[in-house]
């Protein structure tokens, strides 16, 4: 009960802060919409497929490969760095808030943001004529695993490598953009040269986009996307564990200040 109450408090606070920054909210909306629109039309033109099918294929990669990446990874880095910069972490350490609750609170807040973005991207795609198939439960699992992985990576980057808000952009650009390109977020993986496709097998973003794309666009089941989901599960687990350890290390460092 204590953990649940604290988790809700942290998540609520993060979402409330996000709600205060209305301009940022608008930009967070514009980003996936623009990307979906561009991806869809480029795909329709280059692959010579109907726009409705193009949007069906563009929506999953836009969601997990771009929207969730920036909101969940960039967002969790920004959350941790902002707490450090305004020193509110120290106040949280003084309070009875447990580290587990803080971690889960950040995860819950970004899951909510992720689900919000999923509604936005899929809603717009449906409006543009996309038709999605496959298991919604499996889709939800893939989205949540992606959120967990991104938040975990965000914690690692935010606690270990970024001390100021200005560091966030450089970090996300340095680590993220190459991974996104290699993950098929902007260009379908089917167009990759063979050596890049081999390399992409080690890129978690590739597994996220491929898994969700196959489920939602090709009606694939767990038996068909099992490899992607397995890779993604291990990666999410490793990043969550890594994020937790990084958080503990940061607590030790911050307490000495």
């Amino acid at each position: 009960m204590k953990y649940w109450r604290e988790t809700l408090a942290v998540a609520g606070r993060i979402l409330r802060e996000l709600g205060r920054r209305q301009r940022s909210l608008i930009f967070w909306g514009i980003f996936p919409i623009t990307l979906l629109w561009l991806n869809g039309y480029i795909l329709a033109e280059r692959a010579q497929i109907a726009p409705t099918e193009a949007f069906t294929r563009a929506a999953p990669v836009t969601l997990v490969g771009a929207a969730l990446f920036f909101s969940c990874l960039g967002g969790s880095v920004a959350t941790v760095v902002a707490e450090r910069e305004q020193a509110t972490l120290k106040r949280l350490f003084i309070s009875p808030l447990s580290g587990v609750s803080y971690f889960l609170g950040v995860f819950l807040a970004h899951s909510a943001i992720g689900l919000g973005q999923a509604l936005l991207v899929y809603g717009l795609a449906l409006y543009l004529g996309a038709e999605f198939s496959g298991s919604w439960l499996l889709s939800l699992v893939i989205v949540l695993l992606s959120v967990a992985a991104y938040v975990g990576v965000g914690f690692i980057l935010g606690t270990q490598f970024a001390r100021r808000v200005e560091d966030v952009n450089a970090l996300v650009a340095a680590f993220g953009v190459p991974l996104l390109i290699l993950g098929g977020a902007f260009l379908p993986a089917a167009l990759f040269p063979p050596n890049l496709l081999d390399l992409a097998q080690w890129n978690p973003v590739f597994h996220m986009t491929e898994a969700l794309l196959q489920v939602n666009a090709d009606d694939a089941g767990l038996d068909q996307v099992g490899d992607h989901v397995t890779f993604l599960s291990w990666f999410a687990l490793a990043m969550t564990g890594g994020g937790w350890l990084a958080y503990l290390r940061m607590i030790q460092q911050e307490r000495r200040l």
Binding site: L8, R16, Q86, R91, I94, S95
Partner: protein, 300 residues
């Protein structure tokens, strides 16, 4: 209320707290003074649970201080640690939630704390729109939102204008009247004189002097301090020495400790033929005691 016995904390080879003892009585305002590096922040961090003591015992109401009873302590750190984009009420509500208050308790406590710090009319203003003084008050309100029995105020009025200071002093008095025990650290000695029933002076990790303001002032063998400006300081000092006055320099100005209350004429008569430009007399104050204890000042 709070009892600290033989508290020791080292950072590597540097001993910060060296067997510190402190006993806070319920409902008192205790002023903890000390130069930078004396160990005040380390002590507060140990009380908050941010640091672990190497040795010593800490008890709160007779029970060992730990996560189970740390909720009885409220801390207002010296920086305003607030969520700047949230409103005053939202900040308080968040911390009240963390401290386990239910919805009704939170609503009541948020309203009460805002009233206590005179921010009711700014309840829905974002923190970033508040003045420095208002943020300071809200910072203190956050420390009070879970109704702690012991409140630690770490330099609560540093950087505030005099009006904001008066408001915070009034709040501290109100808290004391409501039975809350307060541990106050500050560099503003007049603040301690006004508010604290007992004062402890921390030096090199130990409280070396403790008592009421009156007790502490008696440690100086004087009832008044006269600050004297003269173009012939050497002559004046020689004469003061003959008369057995203790002399000190406070901020570069020459001061003599007067063993009794004298009139200006009586003081002037002590220094015949020595040109004196001005004499300022004041009763012995905490700053004189503090400087005497914390600096290794020698007679001039």
């Amino acid at each position: 209320m709070l009892k600290i016995t033989h508290l020791v904390k080292n950072f590597g080879s540097r001993a910060v707290l060296q067997g510190l003892n402190l006993d806070l009585q319920p409902g008192e305002v205790y002023g903890l003074l000390g130069p930078n590096g004396a160990g005040k922040t380390t002590l507060i961090n140990i009380l908050c649970g941010l640091l672990q003591a190497d040795r010593g015992t800490l008890t709160l109401n007779g029970n060992a201080l730990g996560s189970a009873n740390r909720g009885l302590i409220g801390v207002a750190p010296q920086e305003n640690l607030l969520y700047r984009s949230l409103t005053c009420a939202e900040n308080l509500d968040f911390f009240a939630q963390i401290y386990g208050l239910n919805r009704t308790e939170r609503r009541n406590q948020v309203a009460q704390c805002l009233a206590q710090v005179n921010l009711t009319d700014r309840a829905h203003s974002p923190v970033e729109s508040l003045s420095g003084g208002m943020q300071r008050r809200l910072n203190m309100a956050v420390a009070l939102v879970h109704q702690p029995k012991l409140v630690i105020l770490d330099e609560p009025t540093t950087g505030l204008d005099i009006e904001a200071r008066y408001e915070l002093w009034e709040l501290i008095r109100q808290l004391q009247q409501s039975g809350v025990t307060i541990l106050l650290t500050t560099h503003l000695l007049d603040e301690v004189e006004r508010l604290c029933g007992r004062i402890g002076i921390l030096k090199a990790g130990q409280i070396i002097v403790e008592g009421s303001l009156g007790d502490l002032c008696q440690r100086i063998n004087a009832v008044e301090v006269a600050t004297i400006k003269s173009s012939a300081e050497d002559q004046l000092l020689a004469r003061a020495q003959v008369l057995g006055f203790t002399s000190r320099r406070y901020g570069g100005e020459l001061a003599l400790w007067l063993p009794q209350v004298w009139t200006l004429t009586e003081i002037l008569n002590c220094f015949p033929g020595i040109p004196i430009e001005s004499i300022t007399r004041q009763p012995v104050r905490l700053e004189h005691v503090y400087l005497e204890i914390t600096t290794a000042s020698e007679g001039l």
